[in-house]
């Protein structure tokens, strides 16, 4: 059965580069779990032959939201779509964040576009004490903080240039009370993820990390998005993007 198109219900410009889409598609909205992503056709031309993976930010009734950052040709073309038009979106795809019943005190550590799937997870992991650490490059980049606060999480913000919150890397901030967490969830730029994973491993704390790889099919058929794990070669689009930090070897 063919997937249904996603109708653009609303478009919200968060700042110069980040745009939120509210998309209507009951199949995706009803099946999505935090950490999963969708694969978006960014234009109707075959000049760009690949879809673009974007995390699901949340779901509400028959809708789901995504936030995309304009970085290249695909996301630029995505920004040409208007309210009321339809997008060809495949999803939900991949495996998201999971939590065991015993995980009570947890931390989220996010940076840049890695923030979005974590917000979704924070809104779903209701019965937990959540510390939510967010790193931005500067004040201008800060977004959706209110939304994170609404999940009930304690929010800690750092900026690389000190223009808001803690001045420095988010890893410094979160490692202060590291011992208290049952589980830590990470999604952000690779250097940040590596720094966090190193700290967690040192303290023997469990966690999950969402990885990013360039994708072809997005469903596990082309083997393009490989990542080595202790269980052998896995694929970010199908076996991930979320992996246990104990399972993965992060790239150089």
């Amino acid at each position: 059965m063919r997937h249904k198109l996603s109708i653009i219900v609303d478009i919200v410009k968060l700042n110069d580069q980040n745009i939120r889409l509210i998309l209507q598609n009951s199949d995706i909205a009803s099946k999505a779990t935090p950490g999963q992503f969708v694969n978006v056709r960014c234009c109707n031309s075959n000049e760009l032959i690949l879809r673009r993976p974007i995390s699901i930010l949340n779901t509400h009734e028959d809708c789901y939201d995504i936030i995309y950052k304009i970085v290249g040709e695909g996301t630029k073309r995505l920004s040409n779509f208007k309210i009321g038009e339809s997008l060809d979106v495949l999803g939900p795809l991949g495996k998201g964040f999971t939590k065991e019943p015993l995980d009570k005190t947890i931390a989220f550590i996010g940076g840049g576009i890695g923030l979005f799937p974590l917000v979704y997870a924070a809104s779903k992991f209701k019965d937990c004490d959540i510390d939510f650490f967010v790193g931005f490059r500067n004040n201008d980049e800060i977004m959706i903080i209110d939304e994170i606060k609404k999940t009930g999480a304690n929010v800690y913000i750092s900026t690389d240039d000190g223009s808001f919150g803690y001045h420095g890397f988010i890893t410094d901030l979160f490692s202060e009370n590291i011992k208290k967490y049952d589980k830590v969830y990470i999604c952000g730029p690779l250097p940040m993820e590596k720094a966090c994973v190193k700290i967690l491993r040192k303290h023997g704390i469990k966690g999950q990390v969402s990885l990013e790889e360039r994708m072809g099919c997005g469903i596990g058929a082309c083997l393009v998005c490989a990542c080595e794990t202790i269980h052998g070669m896995k694929h970010v689009c199908k076996d991930g993007p979320v992996f246990n930090i104990s399972d993965v070897f992060l790239k150089e």
């Binding site: 879809r51 790889e213 072809g216 099919c217 596990g220 058929a221 082309c222 393009v224 998005c225 990542c227």
Partner: protein, 306 residues
């Protein structure tokens, strides 16, 4: 009008229809099986297999280019034995023929794999003499008539299933290579595999692919593929399986008219998971609408100018 005949025969194996999914783009069928009915396909060419499991190349393994992609997967696969154990039972549930795509570094590798696969439920062998993403063997064989002839002949002597020789387009004269395959006893020829290319990230000054170069596929290569199918059709008598950038029925028809007895669809699955099923359905409709009772009437129906 009766239902047109879509079936085509390679060696002694008959496919229900001439639409096949291309090796490396369709896994072992499971994933796209969530989107389409695998029974609708003429055949499934599985991910290229090697004797031993392979991890493939480092990532990034894909880069987007104008109307195409470069890939450098480098034959990541579980090895032929795991394939037999884990994938064949799944694939035999369906009507579509199982095409084992195999690649080796030496002639011996190919022969061992064929021996191992001979007594399985695989229907056809596709001998990959054209993978640009691994360092040894494979492409080297495929670049000369003699290399192709030797590998083909050796395999044909022991193969219990029809063999399809998959050719690389990275050659000066595709027709002589194709003749090598025919003279070696190939039951069919498939072409084209990917064309070697490179994309550079101008910010980092590094190639986008970790393997530096990769194989170009997708609509951008279609004119080259159609030309080569036409040339090879004028040269050999065995069936040709054409591929390269097929996105819809119209594209597939170009290949049939040029001389392909069947087509494979690869890259475009990434954009449209339904593409192969859709082309199958549209092809049937096209034959009915145009009063063509047998797909064979279309094959090689090209009318050259002059």
């Amino acid at each position: 009008m009766l239902k047109p005949n879509l079936s085509i025969t390679i060696g002694d194996v008959t496919l229900n229809n001439p639409i096949i999914t291309a090796s490396g783009t369709f896994g072992f069928g499971r994933e796209y099986g969530e989107y389409i009915d695998l029974n609708q396909l003429g055949g499934i060419a599985v991910k290229g297999l090697t004797l031993e499991p392979r991890l493939g190349n480092k990532t990034p393994r894909i880069a987007e280019t104008p109307s195409g992609i470069l890939n450098s997967v480098g034959l990541e696969n579980p090895g032929v034995k795991a394939f037999i154990k884990n994938e064949i039972p799944f694939l035999t549930q369906y009507d579509s023929k199982i095409i084992a795509n195999i690649a080796g570094s030496t002639v011996d590798d190919y022969l061992k794999m064929v021996e191992i696969l001979n007594d399985t439920l695989v229907d056809l062998f596709e001998i990959n003499l054209s993978c640009p993403n691994v360092r040894e063997g494979c492409l080297a064989f495929g670049s000369s008539k003699d290399g192709v002839y030797r590998v083909t002949k050796a395999i044909k002597e022991i193969a219990k299933k029809p063999i399809i020789i998959k050719l690389t387009p990275n050659v000066t004269d595709i027709t002589s290579i194709a003749l090598g395959a025919q003279e070696g006893g190939a039951d069919a020829i498939s072409l084209i595999n990917t064309i070697t290319g490179m994309k550079i990230d101008i910010k980092t000054k590094k190639p986008v692919l970790h393997n530096n170069t990769g194989g170009l596929s997708g609509p951008c290569i279609r004119p080259i593929a159609v030309r080569m199918v036409h040339q090879v059709y004028q040269t050999v008598d065995i069936p040709i399986i054409g591929m390269g950038g097929i996105t819809n029925l119209e594209d597939a028809l170009e290949f049939f008219i040029a001389g392909a007895s069947a087509v494979m669809i690869g890259t475009y699955h990434f954009m449209d998971p339904y593409v192969s099923e859709k082309v199958t359905i549209d092809l049937l409709k096209y034959l009915v609408d145009n009063n063509i009772s047998d797909i064979k009437q279309l094959i090689g129906s090209l009318i050259l100018h002059e």
